[in-house]
């Protein structure tokens, strides 16, 4: 039985694919001159879509529109990327790191994009970073938190234009301390995957310095996307604690808050949430007042007033009928960083479309201002950004039907980020040596 008859057919299919491919590549080459093809990868489906993916995608759309019109404020007022029209290809991040590697290869090798901005999930970032380096293509990670990416490897073509997760928890701890919040006992609830576990680790290490006497109550690790927290709520209710720390986000956080509130869990404990701003618009009055929240940066209601921030909020508001939250800010940072890098690279190479090497060279150690404050590519040999952040307390304002932030304290970049020569965990354990706070 000639069991390999089909291989002939496969070859036929290969041939036809070839044809398709060459067409694609030609097309790519033809446009390459006047346009800059930019792949943008973020969650368009799945649990992270609503909290991070879609706001980020919205911000990306806004940036493309504004940049191409050249209507962004200086220094971003040059049309497109250095005159080149930005052509965006939006890809869904849902489906796991393995799939992302394939999609990224497709973007670079089939769609011939000039650069890729993307990735919310730490796992995805870890998976794709080596690929970009292998293919020698330019990649900017805009959101994912895990410090591992630049502390365990030093990719050449990969950058992250936002602080890693260490900052979120360090700033929380500093805030607790500087507001003399009494913490004798603490409950923790974090998701049972990298983000939750890392955040928990950072926070505990930080607390060990700031509050050596603080005792651990419950330390729960519900599974990602659990949705139902009945059991957790009663465990937490059983162990009274001064604060309840959580790095939950999105639907899980909303679910936890709703179910906890329904059972009066937060009446006598202060919520300390490392990344909560994006759930406030949905929760409104269900968000317990006085909860201490971070936004993984000086974003949204925690952001500082500045012309560029006002412009961003206004234009985002008008385009998407909502206030931008953390993911939107972070996407914007990435766009602005790339724009700056591309344009300074073009200034050097005489206005030609820069190669990935040139863009990378220009981005390394660069500094640029964004709605979320100044970004400095200071860590990981100039590939990892540090930025300032802010923490605040929530207060529901019935009049405007919005949750506002009060007692907002902002932290300088050097205050909450490790120095270039230290791994974040060591730095936290060592008690933040060399941190510059004012």
């Amino acid at each position: 039985m000639n069991s390999f008859k089909l291989m002939g057919k496969t070859r036929g299919r290969l041939a036809s694919m070839l044809a398709a491919a060459s067409v694609l590549t030609l097309a790519g080459a033809a446009q390459a001159e006047e346009t800059f093809k930019l792949g943008v990868v973020t969650f368009l489906s799945g649990p992270a879509a609503e909290s991070f993916g879609v706001p980020a995608a919205n911000a990306a759309k806004l940036m493309v529109e504004q940049f191409n019109k050249g209507s962004a404020p200086a220094p971003y007022n040059k049309a497109g990327f250095g005159g080149m029209k930005i052509e965006m290809i939006l890809v869904d991040e849902n489906g796991g790191g393995a799939k992302q590697v394939q999609e990224l290869r497709n973007l670079y090798q089939r769609e011939n994009v000039d650069a890729v901005i993307g990735y919310v999930g730490s796992g995805d970032c870890l998976a794709v970073a080596p690929v970009a380096d292998e293919l020698k293509k330019f990649l900017v990670l805009f959101d994912c938190g895990s410090p591992r990416i630049f502390e365990e490897a030093s990719p050449k073509y990969v950058f992250r234009t936002a602080s890693h997760a260490a900052m979120d928890n360090v700033s929380l701890v500093r805030y607790l301390k500087s507001h003399n919040v009494k913490v004798n006992t603490m409950n923790l609830i974090n998701q049972d995957y990298a983000w939750g576990l890392d955040s928990r680790g950072d926070f505990l290490a930080g607390m060990a310095n700031a509050y050596p006497q603080a005792k651990m109550g419950a330390d729960l690790l519900p599974k990602f996307g659990a949705g139902q927290y009945g059991t957790e709520v009663s465990v937490l209710g059983g162990k009274q604690a001064d604060i309840t720390y959580s790095s939950l986000w999105g639907g899980d956080l909303q679910g936890f808050l709703l179910q906890g509130a329904a059972r009066g869990l937060f009446k006598d404990t202060t919520l300390v949430l490392s990344a909560a701003d994006h759930v406030l618009p949905g929760l409104l009055d269900k968000m317990p007042d006085g909860s201490i929240i971070g936004a993984r940066g000086a974003y949204g209601i925690l952001s500082a007033k500045s012309p560029i921030n006002d412009w961003f909020q206004a234009s985002y508001q008008s385009m998407h009928k909502a206030l931008p939250v953390q993911a939107g800010y972070r996407m914007t940072q990435a766009f602005m960083g790339v724009k700056m890098a591309v344009e300074s690279a073009m200034a050097k190479n005489g206005g030609r479309k820069p190669t990935p090497e040139q863009i990378a060279e220009a981005m390394r150690n660069s500094t640029f201002d964004t709605p979320g404050g100044q970004i400095r590519m200071a860590l990981g040999d100039g590939h990892q950004a540090i930025q300032g952040t802010a923490i605040g307390k929530t207060k529901y304002d019935a009049a405007s039907k919005r949750v506002l932030a009060v007692d907002v304290q902002t932290f300088g970049a050097e205050c909450v980020n490790p120095p270039a020569n230290m791994k974040s965990m060591d730095w936290i354990k060592a008690g933040f040596p060399g941190a510059k706070c004012n």
């Binding site: 368009l44 489906s45 799945g46 649990p47 879509a49 609503e50 993916g53 879609v54 049972d192 330390d219 729960l220 690790l221 519900p222 599974k223 996307g225 659990a226 949705g227 139902q228 009945g230 059991t231 957790e232 709520v233 009663s234 465990v235 209710g237 059983g238 999105g250 639907g251 909303q254 679910g255 709703l258 179910q259 509130a261 329904a262 059972r263 009066g264 869990l265 759930v279 949905g282 929760l283 269900k286």
Partner: protein, 290 residues
Amino acid sequence: MDAVAYASWLFIVSLGMTLVFGVLKILNMAHGSIYAIGAYAAATAVALAVSLGLPPAFSLVAMLLSAVAVAVTVGPLLERGLLARYYGRDEVVLLLVTYALFLMLEDVTKLVWGVNPYYVSEPAQLFGNVLFAGMRIGGYDLFLVGLAAVCGLITWYVLNRTTSGKIVLAVIHNPEMSASMGVNIQRVYVVAFTVGVFLAALGGAFTAPMISVQPGLSVSVIIISFAVVIIGGLGSIQGAAVGALVVGAARSLAVHLMPEIELFSIYLVMAAVLIFRPEGLFQSVKARLI
């Protein structure tokens, strides 16, 4: 206690799944998606009710109605329009059909309701919470337990105490035979599937107030109700009840005692049950083959 609350939620969801399997011999993966749809529908309905200025108590009715609506629209459509075309295929193939259906419904829900979350915590607030043995218990949880009990009892009663129910049992036992005795199998199938859909939607609808309704709801539901149904024994109602309790207990024990195994405690239980009682806790022995 919360074990029971969780279990009762599980029961409502997996009851539908086990019923559908019992009658149609289909292990329905799309069950989870329907659960999600139910949640969305409830969210919409309650929002509507509130906007119409109806009393909050009415939101419960609204949720019920939404579940019914989902059932009568989605149920017959899927069964007649889709599944009916695949009857007589291998169990596993049918499983795949529903898997495909699940993928489709995932996107359909996204197209209909978008990716933004919906909140309907009003009903949950209706009940406030009661202090019990030093810890607060959501009145809504108690309500859910009651709801589950009612669902279970009604199903049991209909199946065992009414003629139409007896017909269904007959079909479960032996479709060919009952067909030859003039039972309208098609109708039984449609009804059974619709009821299954209704229970899934109901589960979703009454969970909606406790969570934020948004994409990604369905997957966990599928797996966990699989586990329940397998543990209880495919197609067995009291089995679903016991299975739900077992899983609920296993989970909350895990959370209370050793949180680190919570992630897969359920599968351990399921594997254990399958090893010691392959046909699940409640499953009649197979007929003689020769």
